[in-house]
């Protein structure tokens, strides 16, 4: 079993533990502009994902992300289920196997994820959704690849861009999802989906960085 086959489950473990640790905080972000369940939804989803992946024999990245997608779709319960589910589904087909050019594949995976979220939710940037964290991460990662950055750096930059994008949702007025029902009153609150999106990208960056320093 190669390192590549292990990276999938390490990523899922880290995402699950980060989401689990931030469940209350994500719920708190969802309370003023949603129904207060974003953390609970994702914690339920990723906990189910991890259990499925621990018990499946095919640990290839494509298989791990495919299971992640299908499990999120059927267990999350909120908008984040179909959205992240479609994102992981697109990732699983975008990077069937890791080849030598990992930085480019990271950028391709992020690009595929954004394509999935937008195909499902039809949101563009500025609508106060997870797209506002994901889209800048895609842009920055592709630029970093062009500059010749290595995998760790591409992911670090993507995570930083996602965090900036997440913070930028605070003054936005929501025009998609449940928060859009609030109109003007959605202004002044950070979007929970953008927050979880940043946490997930940061989790992947941390796994890859830790993996590269320990070997």
């Amino acid at each position: 079993m190669s390192d590549n086959e292990q990276i999938g489950i390490r990523i899922v473990r880290r995402i699950q533990s980060v989401i689990h640790a931030n469940t209350a905080e994500l719920n708190a972000f969802d309370r003023p502009i949603g129904d207060g369940d974003h953390g609970t939804n994702l914690d339920r989803g990723f906990t189910a994902v991890l259990a499925k992946i621990e018990s499946q024999s095919d640990q290839s990245l494509a298989a791990v992300f495919k299971t992640t997608a299908m499990t999120l779709i059927s267990t999350v319960g909120g908008a984040a289920g179909p959205l992240y589910g479609t994102a992981f589904l697109r990732i699983s087909t975008a990077i069937p196997e890791l080849d030598g050019d990992h930085p480019r594949q990271v950028a391709a995976a992020l690009t595929a994820a954004l394509g999935g979220v937008q195909a499902r939710g039809k949101a563009t940037t500025g609508e106060k959704t997870m797209v506002d964290a994901l889209a800048p991460a895609v842009e920055v990662s592709n630029a970093a690849v062009e500059e010749g950055a290595d995998t760790v750096l591409v992911l670090e930059r993507a995570a930083t861009a996602a965090r900036t994008g997440m913070e930028a949702t605070i003054p936005m007025r929501a025009t998609k999802g449940r928060a859009s029902y609030l109109g003007e009153r959605s202004i002044g609150h950070q979007d929970p989906g953008a927050t979880s999106c940043y946490l997930i990208i940061q989790a992947v960056a941390d796994v890859v960085r830790d993996g590269s320093t320990s070997t």
């Binding site: 129904d35 369940d37 939804n41 339920r44 779709i73 059927s74 267990t75 999350v76 319960g77 909120g78 908008a79 289920g81 179909p82 959205l83 589910g85 479609t86 499902r120 939710g121 999802g177 449940r178 029902y181």
Partner: protein, 133 residues
Amino acid sequence: MAVALVIVSHSQQVADGVRDIAEQMAGDQVVIRAAGGAADGSLGTNAEAIARAITEADQGDGVLILVDLGSAVLSTETALEMLGLDADRKVQLSNAPLVEGAVVAAVTASTGQTLEEVASAALDAKDMTKVVR
């Protein structure tokens, strides 16, 4: 047969209840399936359960899907994609209000009208007269 209905809600009780109300109006001529709640029974929507309900409801004359709000739409669209039905005109996702739309759709379906006619009647249920003065 008749056009069938699928009721999607965040709450299983709401989905089941709307199905019951619509069934009472439509008699036993219209197949109505409910898909309510997240997989573990908490409030939420579940694309898998919705896909199952659509498959069970489908009698060949078309299926109209009525939803409550928020992720009910995303989950239903995901279900349609899972079923490979998104391009098929025989299944329609309605923007109608849930209770009023389901009642009007059920009665209209029970008169043997087409999916397009049932869908259009359900949409008009937005303006249902409940209090006549």
